[in-house]
């Protein structure tokens, strides 16, 4: 469809018709490729780029979404810096992230090691462990809401059975954070186990043979060989969990409502943004919060990046040896 036949070239052109058509062909040669990649860029321009700049403009306004905007300068940002709810929401998000990521990584690693040993029914187990990851968060938040229910919940009933007494999961600040963290652990452990398993299966076997010949114990082998070799996969998982962890929203919103429950213990950054912008219709301040979240995400990413860039222990040893 790009080819322009020589007959199309205008006869009055000063250049020879063949030359002219070649020029034109060259100019339009890549048109199909530009058309092919354009849908994403057009959609991004309209629904991504323009909104981002507009939100910068909005963050300088006071606006309820209906009436006229009022320019307030940096007032929203000044307020944001002293807004204890915003800082609390950052703290809650980070606390829940740590409470979920640490146990999740350990559990996923154990499951991956189990699945990597010579056992049967691996396929079925893998599917079972992965299933939570594709199940609706809203649906499972409702189910967990009942499991965690203070008085009638099955979890407290089980705890009672073993003589532990009731835990006020959904009314106590730490109970709330625990409940949300457990839901995240439930959802992502299988996903990470699958990734760790793939990492384990890709490890070179000769190193393990050497370790066996040298008489290394399984525990030594794990800490000295497996873990260091798995580092890139572990870091990938860490980066992914950081990206997702800073966006926690649905669990809190469904379980505890727009304000994050009693004491606001479940108020995450994105939930605070949602509540301010779309429950209170405070669009100007909402936009400022969104930029605040963006800054937190960037800082967190830089921290992650530094961690990834840190030289591996093996390389350090070599350098020290050379000195």
């Amino acid at each position: 469809m790009t080819a322009t036949s020589d007959l199309d070239a205008p006869a009055i052109a000063r250049r020879s018709p063949a030359e002219e058509s070649a020029r034109r062909r060259r100019r339009w040669r890549h048109l199909p490729q530009y058309v092919a990649v354009s849908p994403f860029f057009l959609l991004f321009a309209v629904f991504g780029l323009y909104p981002v700049f507009y939100s910068l403009y909005l963050s300088l306004q006071r606006w309820d979404g209906v009436g006229p905007m009022k320019f307030v300068g940096l007032e929203n940002f000044r307020y944001l810096l002293t807004d204890s709810q915003f800082w609390d929401s950052i703290a809650n998000t980070l606390i829940i992230w740590v409470m979920s990521t640490v146990p999740m990584t350990v559990l996923a690693l154990l499951i991956a090691l189990g699945l990597n040993s010579s056992i049967r029914f691996k396929g079925v187990l893998r599917v079972a462990y992965f299933m939570p990851n594709v199940t609706s968060i809203v649906a499972m938040s409702l189910v967990f809401g009942s499991i965690f229910s203070g008085e009638f919940g099955i979890l407290n009933w089980i705890l009672d059975l073993f003589g532990f007494g009731h835990v006020p999961w959904l009314t106590d600040p730490w109970g709330i954070r625990c409940a949300i963290a457990i839901m995240i652990i439930w959802r992502w452990t299988g996903y990470n186990a699958i990734i760790f398993l793939a990492g384990l299966q890709a490890l070179p076997t000769d190193v393990y043979e050497a370790a066996r010949v040298d008489g290394a114990s399984p525990v030594q082998t794990f800490f000295r060989i497996t873990l260091p070799l798995l580092r890139p996969v572990l870091l990938f998982s860490l980066v992914m969990s950081a990206i997702g962890g800073l966006q926690i929203f649905t669990e809190s919103q469904v379980l505890l409502g727009d304000r994050g429950g009693p004491g606001g213990a479940g108020l995450t950054m994105v939930l605070y943004f949602y509540g301010t912008a779309f429950a209170d219709n405070d669009f100007g301040y909402g936009a400022a919060i969104a930029w605040g979240i963006f800054v937190v995400v960037v800082l967190f990413s830089i921290l992650n990046w530094r961690l990834v860039q840190r030289p591996e222990r093996g390389q350090v040893t070599i350098k020290e040896d050379m000195r």
Binding site: M1, F41, S55, G65, S136, V143, I194
Partner: protein
């Protein structure tokens, strides 16, 4: 491995799997009993006979069927659009160089860092200006092509499509789009299957954006219907659970169909990334 080690590994993996699957079992138990049974102490731990009665309640109390239909429409249309636009762009980026192609791909990667909530408020007011608030278009159009799919499929296409194949197509007189259609797409089929399930699952489960643009309207999705059901019938918990069960079963069936392939791709993608 020693027999003892093997038995221990099995036991541990089994306990883990039971804990992982327990919420599904518990959901089914609650959905098939009456609300007083759920709240009794000790609670009923096995399936009851109320499932179909409870599901009937769900469908009669709110427009659950409508929300199911809306979700299906959004999920299918979005998935088809994503598969077409993403594969076309991925095919192009993988196999053609044209002025600016590197820069464009760089821009595409850079869009990953834009957090969704940064654009959410202006997107909402844009939807209001377009008159799309409350319409399924507000969900489908912005999601019709995405950077992740293009990036992921480009990696696949670069490895799976040999240049010789494209040269052969060119010699046979195939234009660009015909080459994509008859040479590119067939080779990309495994990648399309993965991206298809991935997109379908994400659209089906999406909550925040539908909550923003569809709430208080007649066209709601399944996830919003669930949240509404929970708000309206807190006292009738077994009905809420029946609705929840109906909402997750279709997706679980789809997942089980493609599970092996899907899980393998998730793992492979992580190792490359």
């Amino acid at each position: 491995m020693s027999t003892r080690g093997r038995v221990l590994t099995y036991a541990a993996l089994l306990v883990g799997a039971v804990i992982t699957l327990f919420p599904y079992y518990w959901l089914a138990v609650m959905a098939s009993n009456t609300t007083p049974d759920i709240y009794s102490s000790p609670p009923k731990l096995i399936f009851g006979g109320q499932l179909f009665h409870n599901i009937g309640e769900v469908f009669s109390k709110i427009d659950f069927f409508g929300s199911l239909l809306n979700t299906l429409v959004v999920a299918i249309v979005t998935t088809v659009a994503v598969l077409f636009f993403d594969s076309l762009a991925a095919f192009t980026f993988a196999k053609y160089t044209f002025p600016g192609s590197k820069i464009l791909f760089g821009i595409l990667l850079a869009t990953f860092v834009v957090p969704t909530q940064l654009a959410a408020i202006p997107q909402f007011s844009l939807m209001a200006d377009l008159g799309w608030v409350g319409s399924l278009k507000a969900l489908i159009v912005p999601a019709a092509a995405n950077a992740f799919g293009i990036f992921w499929m480009r990696q696949y296409a670069a490895g799976a499509l040999p240049d010789e194949l494209l040269d052969a197509a060119r010699i046979d007189g195939c234009g660009f789009f015909r080459t994509y259609l008859y040479v590119g797409l067939p080779v990309l089929r495994p990648a399309l299957a993965f991206l298809g399930i991935f997109t379908f699952v994400n659209v089906w489960n999406d909550f925040l954006w539908p909550l923003v643009v569809l709430i208080d309207s007649r066209h709601i999705t399944l996830q919003l219907a669930l949240a509404q059901l929970n708000g309206l019938y807190v006292t009738d918990y077994s009905v809420v659970m029946a609705g929840t069960l109906v909402a997750i079963v279709p997706l679980i069936i789809i997942f089980l169909f493609g599970a092996r392939h899907f899980i393998r791709n998730i793992a492979a993608g992580a190792l490359k990334g």
